[in-house]
């Protein structure tokens, strides 16, 4: 195999890994803090992509002369803020009311919510059932290394995603609010006894996890230059699997899990003797084996491991 092709696969794996890690972080945060699996989380990624596209169109309509870098920033922040707000509404009106019900109810409710989100975008977004071109908001500089193409937008997205994850990790491990999030994850009642405003911390957690998912959606759009209403379905399953193989509740596990999954897919593409269409089959197959070897995730010491 040619080295430049390997490099191309490596770049591809890094990009996918970052995207999966961004999605997995949300799953793991929500599980850590509230013991719930939020199945609509993948669809928040999709809503993030469509919100980004909408804000882009809004920008073009209101001030077509706006410099591209400003449009990019606006689209990113507005898209993330929109999904963060949406996530807060979901936590307030879907997750919290179901807190005293069996966990299965939350799982079902969020599964249905995900369907509602997908169908809503399909029905109400103009021509929503067809793929939409996503604007190129980053400069298309690139460098050739033999047969491999290193693109500036890939590097920028990778770095931005990395900074976002590092930012979340710093927030959780080194700020007062982050300490409250960890306290709630470890013992919600004890945290309340210390004076933590529990409903506020839940809202904050959902805002963070959802904003990060929105960024994954924007990254998806900018990477593939195309989005569609059901892109969150597979991304959700992959993000959830990544969080589980890393160890649900552990942020570093979620990041690791995301990259493990991405490189399994890439490996499946490179090394399998059949078509790359089987890369997901291969990756999910290995995930099942990994789960058998590490029943509570790679980075989890115990069932009770949290955030």
């Amino acid at each position: 195999m040619d080295i430049s092709l390997l490099l191309q696969f490596f770049i591809n794996g890094c990009m996918l890994g970052m995207m999966y890690a961004l999605v997995a972080v949300g799953f793991t945060l929500f599980f850590g803090v509230l013991d719930v699996i939020v199945f609509s989380h993948g669809d928040s990624v999709m809503v993030g992509a469509f919100a980004g596209l909408s804000f882009y169109l809004l920008c073009m309509y209101l001030s077509p002369g706006m410099p591209v870098w400003l449009v990019t920033l606006f689209v990113s922040f507005a898209g993330m803020a929109f999904v963060a707000g949406f996530g807060m509404l979901v936590s307030r009106f879907v997750i919290m009311p179901l807190r005293s019900a069996p966990a299965l109810n939350t799982l079902l409710a969020t599964m249905m919510l995900g369907t509602v989100m997908r169908e809503a975008v399909r029905l109400f977004f103009p021509d929503g059932s067809n793929p939409k071109p996503f604007p190129r908001l980053l400069p298309d500089w690139s460098w050739k290394f033999g047969g491999a193409l290193l693109r500036f937008d890939n590097i920028a997205l990778f770095i931005a995603g990395g900074l976002l994850i590092v930012g979340v990790a710093l927030l959780i491990n080194h700020t007062r609010l982050g300490m409250a999030i960890r306290a709630v994850a470890q013992d919600a009642e004890a945290a309340q006894i210390m004076g933590v405003d529990f409903p506020f911390i839940v809202l904050l957690t959902f805002a963070i996890g959802s904003a990060v998912a929105a960024f994954a959606g924007l990254m998806n759009g900018l990477y593939y230059n195309e989005i569609n209403f059901n892109l969150g379905l597979l991304l959700g399953v992959i993000g959830f699997s990544s969080a589980v193989i890393g160890g649900l509740g552990n942020i570093y596990g979620a990041i690791l899990g995301g990259f493990v999954f991405a490189f399994l897919q890439v490996f499946g593409t490179v090394a399998m003797p059949f078509s790359s269409a089987y890369k997901d089959v291969f990756a999910f197959g290995v995930v099942i084996v990994l789960m058998a070897i590490f029943p509570t995730g790679i980075l989890s010491e115990r069932q009770s491991q949290r955030v």
Partner: protein
């Protein structure tokens, strides 16, 4: 004299199971008031109600003259109440120091937090040695120190302590009671919930006995101690 805490006719239940019926009690400021009762009497439930973690079916709660029933737990803590919960409830994946910080979660002044932390370390030198250790990896006795230190961090005006001697060796239990006595002597109102009748009454000034969700006896600690009937009826 204004009472530190007054409960009027509190009733509480989990779903359909009534746990507290018509509980009334008062606590004088700067004293140790105790609540004695066997396992399952409803002591911890009463604390949950006090802290706003469980909504009472009926009744009023006054802290320093203001009605706090219906407030959110973080608002009640913000009024100057702290609690050392049953079973320590330390944050196992946090260091000793982070646990202490959590105790002072609502304290805005880092200066005051630092001062208070120095006081806690002076009281428990062992915690200072272990301040970077994850609390979950410590021994039961050390975790008890973390829990007590954490409860002292916010400098509460009312400290609620739920069964501090649970699961500790006799020597550690005596240490604990000595520390609680000192907290009371320093002017903090203490609500001490216990099953350990003798040592609790020895450091309390007033006591209540809870049985099956009702207050069945009350009086000065000395009188309760000498009350054979109470002893035999409720503690075997």
């Amino acid at each position: 004299m204004r009472q530190a805490l007054t409960l009027n006719h509190i009733s509480a239940a989990y779903g359909k199971a009534d746990v507290l019926s018509d509980v009334s009690l008062t606590m004088e400021p700067g004293r140790i008031t105790c609540l004695l009762g066997a396992n399952g009497a409803g002591k911890s439930t009463l604390i949950k109600v006090l802290l706003g973690l469980l909504k009472p079916r009926a009744g009023e709660i006054f802290f320093e003259g203001e009605n706090i029933a219906g407030l959110q737990p973080h608002e009640i803590i913000g009024r100057g109440i702290a609690c050392i919960p049953e079973g320590r409830r330390i944050f196992p994946k946090m260091t000793v120091e982070e646990n202490l910080y959590m105790g002072a979660y609502q304290e805005p002044s880092t200066e005051r937090i630092r001062k208070k932390m120095a006081e806690v370390y002076a009281l428990f030198p062992r915690l200072q040695e272990r301040r970077a250790q994850l609390a979950g990896t410590m021994s039961g006795g050390e975790q008890a120190m973390v829990s007590i230190g954490r409860g002292l961090m916010p400098s509460p005006r009312l400290l609620i302590i739920d069964e501090p001697s649970l699961g500790l060796s006799p020597v550690l239990v005596s240490d604990n009671f000595r520390i609680i006595r000192r907290i009371g002597e320093a002017g903090t109102s203490v609500f001490l919930v216990e099953q350990n009748v003798r040592q609790t009454l020895a450091i309390s000034s007033y006591g209540y006995v809870l049985s099956q969700g009702r207050i069945v006896a009350r009086g000065n600690a000395r009188d309760l101690r000498d009350d054979e009937a109470v002893r035999e009826a409720y503690f075997g």
